[in-house]
Symmetry: C2
Subunit: 242 residues, 2 copies
Amino acid sequence: MRFTSLTSSDGVTEQLFTLGEIPGVLWTPEGARGPRSLVLLGHGGGQHKMTPGIVSRARRYAAEGFAVVAIDAPHHGERPKDEEFGRIAAEMRAGMAAGGNPGALVAGLHGYLAPRAVADWQEVLTAVQRLDQVGVGPVGYCGMSMGCGLGVPLIAAEPRIRAAVLGLLGVHGLAEDAARVTVPVQFLVQWDDRMVPRDQGLALFDALASAEKTLHANPGQHGGVPSFEVDSSLRFFARHLI
Amino acid sequence: MRFTSLTSSDGVTEQLFTLGEIPGVLWTPEGARGPRSLVLLGHGGGQHKMTPGIVSRARRYAAEGFAVVAIDAPHHGERPKDEEFGRIAAEMRAGMAAGGNPGALVAGLHGYLAPRAVADWQEVLTAVQRLDQVGVGPVGYCGMSMGCGLGVPLIAAEPRIRAAVLGLLGVHGLAEDAARVTVPVQFLVQWDDRMVPRDQGLALFDALASAEKTLHANPGQHGGVPSFEVDSSLRFFARHLI
């Protein structure tokens, strides 16, 4: 794990790093020492580890004492895009333009990325927990849309993750992994989401095997999650990780 | 308005009162003076103003600075039950035992109670806001199940109510009033509710005309709303009434 920059502002320290070929960011409270709860942030499709929504959420969590990590998903951000990914992404866009089923098209792309994404997160988690200011504390995952599509297989595979905030995605391609998710989940649905039909989002919430799961639905489109849901997710993680 | 008792404990003052034929309870922070936000609590069917769930919620809100009022709904608690109500309630129970549509049966009972309940709340609201320790501040309403069935027509009719926590009820008989509700609403659904089919609860949420409305769904039966939803409702009221 190689750190390439360190900046601090408003009580939060932000460190860019690379772990092998994975570029990432670690946020911690300024001057943090010793183990603490950690949240992994998975970004959406076409976004990256420093997308504004990721950065603002990370800083909000870190200001409350959490360590937070984001990495570029495979074929996103600073990472190289291979031909196969380019072909699948182009097919997805063409399929949507032609009126195809968005759930199936998106699931195809996520299915291509998931094995690499899961391995990346597991490697990053192990490396980050070796740092003094993170340590082996409770771990949560937060990801919407593609961050949910890659997060569900990760949580199904990774017992170190003890709570998750997910959503903005339908059940297509995820039913089996969702049935292996048993940790507490807060799940977001946008009630008027044209990319994810309401019943498909509700079906993914339904498919989660978690005994404690809580659905938050709000009016508006895919990108319009109200800002109070960031505070709500913070309280959810505080309830389950502290 | 006649106060019949006053007790204080843990920083909250509880006063029983009667207003005409309406028995009620007022909770305020101990020693409260001057205007403050007020929450009206509507209890569920067969319950009353001092049902444990009402008292604990009221004390929690009052401890945070709110004034809180609960009253016995018509034909509930200390109030007399007339023959017509007894007949409708017996018909509802018999219909349910015979496998009838619970939504329709419950809506029949609520429809009988609603005109009186709305008038009672309006009278109580006017009287309570004349008290020094309540005053004319922002007003919210919180009611689940029958408290929702009587609350939706109240909020549709009463412009002084500026935010509401509702839920645990389906759309049957309420679509027209719901379409007149425009204040922010937090709406609860129990995902495995045998009394209120999931799609009926979602349909009532959908029918609310509010630009800001947020749905919280949790696993479990009608009576099994998790305790963290009380905290969440408090933050919702704090967001909209303070």
